[in-house]
């Protein structure tokens, strides 16, 4: 497990007393309340919570697409005030552009930022190799399965070499067996890149399998209810999911959920 040592680089993502409120037709709504946690450099942190707890709002704040109403959210020490190149995002739906082939889809963030495509091209091919899709570089999204499309999405999120990877329930749209495969794949990819990851999910086993730490959020207004360190040794595999320690951790999280007030 990649442990951030004492006195090392600042936490990749630092969230302090984060508030987000917005106006709706029924009056002001508090989406997030005094949220407070870190994602250390190179760590894999999951945010686990029921629907409507503000997980997606949190992600949009981390992307720079929303501004906080109070508190702060900072990346590598600097507050996030707009989209930052150090952030890559993987959505729930692969959201590949249907009129571009796989390689061009991976290069979308590069072109959007106006960066040099030539250099990025090599990197994109390297990433496709990493997600085992290099043979499909000139294929089109509609020729790929959901799992494959999502892997392209991951490659795309990494193409501009971000320090922080945001993932919004990336496997929710996939069937159960593909999900399990993708979990193992994602761990392999992450361990190869050393990025920090903020992973949103509502699946307890997924969170336990993938993360160094799990942050449990309450229903709206979203608050941190509990943080659980996952001390399972890496690399984790399917057998790990059958281990007693795994069961104990998932049970603990289930109890946290059971104790939560419904939204």
């Amino acid at each position: 497990m990649q442990q951030a040592s004492e006195g090392s680089a600042q936490a990749a993502l630092s969230i302090r007393k984060l508030d987000l409120a917005y106006a709706s037709s029924r009056g002001p709504v508090q989406a997030l309340l005094q949220l407070d946690f870190d994602v250390e450099a190179g760590a894999f942190v999951s945010v686990l919570g029921p629907s409507g707890c503000g997980k997606s709002t949190l992600l949009r704040l981390a992307c720079g697409l929303l501004r906080p109403s109070g508190g702060s959210i900072a990346l590598a020490g600097r507050p996030i005030e707009g989209p930052r190149p150090e952030v890559g995002i993987v959505f729930q739906q692969p959201t590949l552009l249907p009129w571009k082939n796989v390689l061009d889809n991976v290069l979308v963030p590069v072109r959007a930022r106006g960066a040099d495509v030539g250099v990025a091209r090599l990197r994109a091919l390297e990433l496709l190799r990493m997600v085992k899709l290099e043979a499909f570089a000139s294929h089109y999204p509609h020729e790929l399965s959901g799992g494959m499309q999502q892997r392209v999405g991951i490659a795309r999120a990494l193409v501009h070499d971000p320090a922080l990877l945001l993932m919004d329930e990336p496997f929710a749209a996939l069937d159960a067996m593909t999900r399990e495969n993708m979990m193992v794949e994602l761990q392999r990819i992450w361990r190869g890149t050393g990025k920090s990851v903020l992973f949103i999910t509502h699946s307890i086993p997924e969170a336990v399998f993938l993360s160094d730490r799990v942050v449990v959020m309450s229903p709206r207004p979203g608050r941190v209810v509990q943080t659980l360190a996952i001390d399972l040794p890496r690399p984790r595999n399917i057998e790990t999911m059958g281990s007693p320690r795994f069961a104990a951790l998932t049970n603990e999280l289930r109890q946290v959920f059971a104790r939560m007030e419904p939204a």
């Binding site: 949009r60 989209p83 979308v108």
Partner: protein
Amino acid sequence: MNDRLKTAAASLSTLAILTLWWWAMTRPGGLDKSVLPSPHDVAGALHAGLITGTLHAHILATGKAAMLGLTIGVSLGVAAGALVVLVPLLEMFVLPVVTAMQSIPKVALAPLVVAYLGFGIASKVFTAAMLTFFPAFLAAVAGLRAVDAAHLDLYRACAASPLHTLWNLRIPAAAPYLFAALQVAVIFSLIGVVVSEFIAATEGLGYVIKARSLELDVSMMFAAILVLCAIGVAAGLAVQLLQRRLVFWRRP
């Protein structure tokens, strides 16, 4: 497959019945050729027009004007639509007005256009452009706005400029809408040119229809109408083919 065959057979039999009825009505002793020409007369007129070539210049005149009018009208419409989408403030000022203008028969301005621009191709092109601008504009706005929200988020998270987003995301996403509007625009441009030719022209298929009507040459009128039909259908098919090639990711 069987269903298709049945439909083909049924359609052919209907057409056969209609043709037979037509032929029967126009036999000697039946309707006069200045009221309803016989299939033979129309065939003769088509032959004179297409093979011998009396209609060639007119076909070219109408076709050229329609193409020009279509190109100008649609280009301006899409450009204006793109502008309105890029500048959200414009949208609430301009869109309702243009939408309301859709209900106004702009052909009514054709005589005015002819009065200004004269008998030549200019008034035909202007009328056609005027008619095609509006559906193109509205389709452009609808299409450019109908982008997947997740795609928009992706581009915004990459700090893409609005222009880059327009070119790389909105326009391809709008393609299906634009092609649908193009189908409509093709017909409108033909309408515009033909009406302009009715009012005042020296050549063109509309001119032929009008001029021949004054001489009770109904056969040639039919021939010209059929040729117009063919142009419309051909143009529609061309758009469909283009759509299938360019919008390859959507199975229509």
